[in-house]
Amino acid sequence: MELFFQFLSNTGFYLADYRHVIMIVIGSLFLYLGTAKHYEPLLLIPIGFGILVGNVPFFKGFGLGIYESNSVLHYLYFGVVTGLYPSIVFLGLGAMTDFSPLLARPVLMLLGAAAQMGIFFTLLGALALGFLPKEAASIAIIGGADGPTSIFLTAKLAPHLIGPIAIAAYSYMALIPVIQPPIMRLLTTREERLIRMTELREVSKKERVIFPALGVLLCCFLAPASIPLLGMFFFGNFLKECGVTERLAQTARTAIIDTATILLGLTVGASTQGDVFLTPKSVGIFLLGAVAFSIATASGVIFAKIMNAFLKEKINPLLGAAGVSAVPGSAREVHLVGQSEDPENYLLMHAMACNSSGVIGSAICAGILWSFLV
C-alpha cells in the first residue's frame, strides 16, 4: 500500500498545480488553432504539442525536464540555445525564396526597412518598462515578426526569455489575419487601397544568381553579427538559383527545414514549463510583442504613403504591411485586403518582394542589436 501511495505521489496528477493546467490549456488552444483553424499549422502544432509535453508535471531530478542537464529534451534544446535551429531554418527559407519580384522592383526593399522601425520603438518601450537592455532587445525583435530571428537573438542575449519570446513571436505570426488588416484599413483610404501595381519586369537568371552573393557580402559586411542567419539564408538561395545544385536546394527546402522546424517548435513549446513561463515578465513580453508587431505594420504602411508623395508611379500602401518578415503570411494578407476592395488587383508578388526584404531587414536588425549589446 505504501508503494502504491509512493507511486501516486510521483504521478503528474499529484504533482500538477494551476500553472501546469493553464499551460496545457494554452497548448491545447495552439493545437486547436493549428488543426481546426489552419493558423500556421506547421508552427503551432509542434509548439502546441511541445507545450503539452513540457507541462507534464514530473519529479525533479529524474533527468526528464528540458532544463535538466542530462535529459533528452535538454539535448534537443541545445539547437535552440546555440542558435543552430534558426540558422538551419534560414538555410531552408533561402532555398524557398524567389527574389525575382524584389529584383524587378528594388524600391520595395525600402518598405522592408521601414517595417523594422517597430523593433526600435519597442526597444525604447521595453527599456522604459524596466527591462534590462539585453532583455529589451530580445523583446523588440518580436517586431520583426520572424520566429527564428527572435529565437536566435534571445538565445544570444537573454536565454532565460526564449520560451515567452518564441511563443509571443510565433503567436503573432499566426495571428496576422487578426492583427494586420485593421491597421492596414485604419491607415489607408479606399483610393489608396485601390492603387494597382504595374506588371513586374522579367528578371534574368544571371541577376538571380548574382543577388545572393552580392546580398551576403553587402549585408554581412555591414552587420557581421547577422552572418549565422543571412549567411545561411543567401547560401540557400544560391543553391536554388545557381542551377547546378538543385538536389541540395530541394533537400534544404524540404527535409532539412522540416526537421529543424519540428525540433525547434517542439523544444520551444517544451521550454514553457508553467513554473518558468508564467511570470509577470511573460505577460509584459506578450503585451510588448503585440505593440512591436502593430508598430512594424503601421511603420511600413506609413512609409509607403510617404514614398508616394515623391514617386511618380504610386505604390499601393498596403504593401508596407508586408515589410515585416512573416513569410508568406503578411504578403497573403496584403493581397487579400487589396482584393477585398478590387478583386482584380493582384498584389501578391509585390508583397512577396517586401516580405523577402523584411526577412533580410530583421536579420540585419538582430545582428545590429547583438553587436550593440555583447
Binding site: P106, A113, Q116, L127, E207, L222, S357, G361
Partner: protein, 142 residues
C-alpha cells in the same frame, strides 16, 4: 528604473537611432545596387560587341542560296520523306521543309518532281523514287 530615465541610462536613444539608420542605409544601398544590376549585366554583355569591329550587315534578310547540286537537295529532303512514310501529300512535304527553314521549298519540290525523284502515285499522293537517287541524279543534272 523606469520611463525616459531608464532609456537614457541604458543608452536607448542612441541604440534605437543608430540601429534604425544602419538597417535603413544597408537596405537602401542593397536596393540601389540591385536596381543597377541588370544595367551592369547588360553593359558587360554588350561589351564584346563594342570591342569587335562592326560587321557590314544588310538592312534586310537575303534569301538563302538555292542548292545547285541535286545531291545536296536529296540529302536535305530524304530525312523529311522518311519521317512522312512511304507515301505522302506534297503539301505535307512542303510544310515540313518550310518548318525546317529549307531554302526555296517550292522550287526545290518542282526540281525533285522534274528529276523523277518525287513520283506521283495518283490521287495527289507522292512517293520517293529510290532508284533515281544515285546515278540517275547525275544524269538528270547533266
Amino acid at each position: 528604473m523606469y520611463g525616459l530615465q531608464a532609456i537614457a541610462a541604458h543608452n536607448g536613444w542612441a541604440m534605437a537611432l543608430a540601429g534604425a539608420l544602419i538597417v535603413f542605409s544597408g537596405l537602401v544601398i542593397l536596393s540601389f545596387v540591385i536596381s543597377q544590376l541588370h544595367r551592369i549585366l547588360a553593359f558587360f554583355e554588350k561589351k564584346p560587341v563594342d570591342v569587335e569591329p562592326p560587321e557590314d550587315k544588310p538592312g534586310f534578310l537575303l534569301p538563302k542560296p538555292f542548292p545547285e547540286d541535286i545531291n545536296e537537295i536529296v540529302r536535305l529532303y530524304k530525312p523529311l520523306v522518311e519521317a512522312l512514310g512511304e507515301t505522302f501529300y506534297l503539301s505535307e512535304l512542303y510544310e515540313m521543309s518550310r518548318k525546317n527553314d529549307f531554302p526555296h521549298p517550292h522550287i526545290t519540290l518542282t526540281a525533285l518532281r522534274e528529276s523523277k525523284i518525287l513520283v506521283s502515285d495518283g490521287n495527289g499522293v507522292f512517293s520517293w523514287n529510290p532508284s533515281t537517287e544515285n546515278d540517275d541524279i547525275e544524269n538528270v543534272e547533266g
